[in-house]
């Protein structure tokens, strides 16, 4: 019984209750379905807040564990093993926060097949939280692959004109990486005899030359998900075609599954390989930063612009992680949260104007500030946060990452130098976007009658704005939560470095 009422199991599996209730509702009762989904996801968020109160930040280890034997796979014991630590708890919070907001954003945007949409959305939340809490590789893989399925349907059914193409591309692309990881997981099972992440990390008994290959196999799955340049080409299609709520979750959480994977598995389990490959990963990350920024600038479609900006921002996260020092990794984790908040908010914002005008072409707008003042003000805050203005969240994350990357003994400071240029480029394309949309003359007839955003829409964005300011002005609690766990991870890496490179 305690298993069912354990805060971790509840956070992970509560959405199932919503799914079951929705299954029994008639498809025509759209509002009832929406409310059930919203209430379920808010309840999940509430439980994750409870989870945070149980969480002891001073403890660097996996805590609040649920660990029961699941079944016997020939001579392997597969465990149903959940747990959180400082690396994952913030991402769980991010997931449970963004889900209700996304559901709220679909209130009037999704009118077709609401029942199926909400079922898929709640299942998606289950899959994502599951990835963050799974501490058994087998269980992790199940959640990891499962989270693909609802997103595939969300893009494919409720997406834009090229949705089928985007959905299949998304699925096949991500699956390609995943199956390589599957082989690596099998290798670990055969040669290490356990799937327990905690045990594999504690043992540290994987030979360094094999770590290299395992690192690459895991990295294949995660780098596609992040996405790192040059494996990013699924992302613009998926983001652009997905419905607003889908894009929010895709950018806000799904991409973090990749960066989290690097953190949890590649850095912790294969530290030798991580040290060896750090310059390569940092190099790809830096290319991603500059490439993403440059391509963003060239976009006419707002949503595509935001999508490419994700490539750039996630490059910062990767650069931070592969600085392999406390500042870099802490900045990386914080930037994961920041990107979820800012880009999530940007997609919500784009969705709001798309719902009114049914176009995302920047040339179709201009001067919107005059008709949609509240909307414009909120957008300004989010835009500034995304480009890293001091006082808002983006700055804290990017600054810490650059600090880590400059001081790293594993990668060259040149990477940080180039990455810093990325911040300037971000300012260019984001301000360019803002200017095209909101400033200038209000010269298009269709735009003159646009209504400003309503209370529901403000409510959708407001929580994100609060966090944007909070992290920008007082990030200490966030660093406190992740600090000990990051230090522990860095110790593992340093121990591996001290033991000598192979």
């Amino acid at each position: 019984m305690y298993l069912l009422l354990h805060p971790l199991t509840l956070t992970t599996f509560l959405p199932i209750i919503g799914v079951v209730v929705i299954l029994f509702l008639k498809p025509e009762w759209k509002n009832a379905i929406r409310w059930v989904a919203l209430v379920t996801s808010i309840a999940t968020f509430a439980i994750s807040v409870v989870l945070l109160t149980y969480f002891k930040a001073s403890n660097p280890d996996i805590q609040l564990e649920v660990n029961v034997p699941w079944f016997q796979f020939a001579n392997w014991d597969i465990h149903f093993h959940l747990g959180v630590d400082g690396l994952s708890v913030l991402l769980i919070m991010l997931t449970t926060l963004l889900t209700p907001l996304s559901i709220l954003s679909t209130w009037s945007a999704i009118e077709d097949r609401v029942k199926e949409f909400m079922i898929f959305f709640l299942l998606l939340e289950l899959g994502m939280v599951g990835v963050f809490v799974a501490m058994d590789l087998f269980l992790f893989y199940i959640f990891w692959e499962f989270s693909l399925v609802p997103m595939y349907f969300i893009i494919g059914i409720w997406g834009g004109p090229r949705r089928m193409y985007a959905a299949i591309k998304f699925f096949l692309y991500t699956m390609t990486g995943s199956i390589l990881m599957l082989l690596a997981i099998l290798w670990l099972g055969i040669n290490q005899g356990t799937f327990s992440v905690t045990e594999l990390v504690a043992r540290g008994s994987i030979p360094a030359n094999i770590q290299f290959w395992l690192f690459l196999a895991f990295a294949a799955a995660f780098a596609i998900k992040v996405p790192m340049w040059p494996l990013h080409s699924w992302l613009p299609d998926a983001h652009t075609e997905a419905p607003t709520a889908g894009s929010v979750i895709l950018a806000g959480v799904l991409l973090k599954l990749g960066t989290y994977g690097f953190l949890r598995f590649n850095l912790s389990m294969f530290p030798n390989a991580a040290i060896k490959l750090a310059p390569w990963m940092a190099g790809l990350a830096t290319i991603g930063i500059l490439y993403g920024a440059a391509v963003s600038y060239a976009q006419k479609d707002v949503k595509r612009l935001v999508a490419y900006s994700s490539v750039s921002h996630l490059g910062f996260v990767m650069l931070g992680l592969f600085a392999l020092n406390p500042q870099g990794i802490q900045g990386g984790i914080l930037q994961m949260v920041n990107h979820g908040l800012s880009t999530g908010a940007l997609f919500l914002i784009v969705g709001m104007v798309y719902e009114r005008r049914h176009t995302r072409d920047m040339d179709a707008f201009g001067g919107l500030w005059k008709v949609m003042a509240v909307y414009a003000a909120l957008t300004l805050v989010v835009t500034l946060s995304s480009m890293g203005l001091p006082g808002l969240n983006g700055f804290v994350g990017e600054f810490t990452i650059l600090l880590g990357a400059f001081g790293s003994s594993y990668i060259s400071p040149w990477f940080a130098g180039f990455a810093a240029a990325g911040i300037i480029l971000a300012a260019i394309y984001l301000l360019f976007m803002f200017q095209k949309l909101f400033l200038g003359p209000l010269d298009k007839e269709e735009n003159k009658k646009l209504k400003d955003i309503n209370w529901r829409e403000i409510l959708t964005i407001a929580p994100l704005i609060i966090f944007i300011f909070w992290i920008g002005l007082y990030p200490k609690p966030f660093f406190t939560i992740m600090g000990p766990a990051v230090d522990k991870l860095v110790n593992i890496i340093q121990a591996a470095a001290a033991a000598g490179l192979p």
Binding site: F71, Q72, A74, I78, F146, L148, I157, M175, L183, W187
Partner: protein, 485 residues
């Protein structure tokens, strides 16, 4: 052989013997059941299957040898027998309304299914190559008839003839192989063959050729490349309910023989045979999946999918000579067969639900709009497609996980890589079915036939449930060991 002796020997084949007797009686009883009430025959056939299941379960855990070591009853045959008998039940459930609907309702349909199943059961229990051949024919001949059951429809007759000719052809390979093995070792009994090999009394080149010929013959049965050419035409031409049964039963029967013969008798030949198996398995996975992409008819698509799946199961057989993993080989193959059987029956149930008279409603485009109009049926089909692809949480994923594990443990990482990449190729066409069902608009018409829908729903539930509660099936599969003596 005295009567008490005979009775004692019968113990080893009791479930099968009862089924044969039941089938013989059913042929006669069917004569007095009036046309139009043939549903009664179906019910009687199902009772026979259930009886046999009960007998099998009551024998569980006992390992017996009968008829001078010609048949054997062990964990392996128990597992497979239950699988065969259950697929018989599913086959009857799918046929019950379908053969009425397409106007081919004749009572012998059900007896033929029972005969075929008894052949499969004999196959799983055979410990002598002669019995293997006997079982192969008993399994196949009813299927040849069933494939042509929709006569005088040309497609069905063509399917029947093709299947018969290829079956006879492949049967002759098996016989020839058996003869060579007999020549090389002086016996057809698997235990005696093992003894002959271990005492160096066997003529190894001859034995290897014999084993290879048996592999070819059985390769036809399980539809492995390059012996697969008949499959798409036969699957398409035969009545759908027959195809569903055939795609599971005949394949599982063929694998029963392959696993038993190669793991028991021929591990010492692995230096030569493994190479051949490796190539066949890789080719089967590759060709099956690649050609399936081009199909626009669901029956042909599933036919190529079944070819590809044969390749995956063969993958488990590749390390058969490595005694450290041969146990896993058996359980991985059996586990995957269950996953394949459930998924396949489910998918065929959906196909049957959507099939219209005269072979209409079988194009992939006919599935457009299914997700909107029949959400449950479409959800079931989506589960099956994900299971075929190997996406968790479905049984197909567990099965593939087990297979890949066996292959990597056996030391064939290259084959595992081919396996995962062909899986990726397969994702494309399985996903396309889902795309068509959910993302295109259309007006499909599905039959509201209880047993068809029940089969689809039950299979979908089991495919997911047996993954979440994987323990029992895993245990059964790992206990399904071969008895050797």
């Amino acid at each position: 052989m005295t009567l008490p002796d005979l009775l004692q020997n019968m113990d080893a084949i009791l479930p099968m013997a009862v089924l044969i007797a039941w089938a013989c009686v059913l042929v006669l009883v069917d004569l007095v059941i009036p046309q139009g009430r043939k549903g009664l025959t179906a019910v009687l056939a199902a009772i026979g299957l259930l009886l046999s299941i009960v007998l099998s379960i009551s024998h569980y855990g006992k390992a017996t040898v009968g008829f001078d070591g010609m048949v054997i009853y062990d964990g392996f045959s128990f597992f497979l027998n239950i699988l065969f008998l259950s697929s018989g039940l599913a086959g009857i459930a799918l046929a019950y309304d379908y053969i009425k609907r397409v106007g081919i309702e004749r009572g012998e349909y059900y007896s033929l299914i029972l005969f075929s199943i008894s052949g499969m059961m004999l196959m799983s229990q055979a410990n002598d190559l002669i019995v293997v051949f006997l079982a192969l024919e008993l399994l196949s001949i009813p299927l040849y008839v069933l494939a042509g059951f929709a006569r005088p429809k040309v497609d069905s007759e063509e399917a029947s003839l093709k299947y018969f000719l290829i079956g006879a052809f492949s049967g002759s390979f098996v016989v020839f192989g058996i003869a060579l093995v007999f020549g090389a070792t002086g016996s057809t009994n698997l235990s005696a063959i093992v003894k002959a090999i271990s005492s160096n009394a066997a003529d190894l080149p001859l034995l290897t050729i014999g084993a290879a010929l048996i592999l070819v013959g059985l390769g036809f049965k399980v539809a492995a490349v390059p012996f697969h050419m008949w499959t798409p035409d036969v699957y398409q031409g035969a009545p759908s309910s027959v195809t569903a049964f055939m795609s599971v039963g005949a394949k599982a029967g063929g694998f029963a023989a392959l696993l038993r013969i190669f793991v028991t008798a021929f591990p010492s030949l692995s230096t030569n045979i493994t190479m051949i198996l490796w190539v066949i398995s890789a080719l089967t996975m590759f060709l099956g999946n690649v050609v399936a992409i081009a199909q626009s008819n669901i029956k042909r698509l599933l036919a190529y999918s079944s070819i590809a799946n044969a390749g995956y199961i063969l993958m488990a057989l590749v390390p058969f000579g490595n005694s450290a993993v041969s146990g896993t080989t058996i359980s991985a193959a059996l586990f995957y067969l269950v996953a394949y059987a459930l998924t396949s029956f489910g998918a065929w149930a959906v196909v049957i639900a959507l099939e219209k008279a005269e072979g209409q409603g079988l194009a992939l485009d006919d599935y457009a709009g299914l997700g909107r109009k029949y959400p449950l049926l479409a959800a079931c089909m989506a589960v099956f497609m994900f299971s075929f692809t190997g996406i968790p949480p479905t049984l197909g994923f567990m099965g593939k996980f087990y297979l890949f594990r066996t292959v990597i443990e056996g030391g064939y990482l290259g084959l595992a890589l081919i396996g995962v990449f062909t899986t990726l190729i397969s994702a494309y066409y399985y996903l396309r079915v889902i795309v068509i069902m959910y993302m295109r608009e259309g007006e499909p018409v599905a039959r509201k036939e209880f047993w068809v829908q029940f089969t689809a729903a039950a299979a979908a539930v089991l495919v997911v449930l047996l993954t979440l509660v994987a323990g029992p099936l895993m245990n059964l599969a790992s206990k399904a060991v071969l008895l050797t003596f």
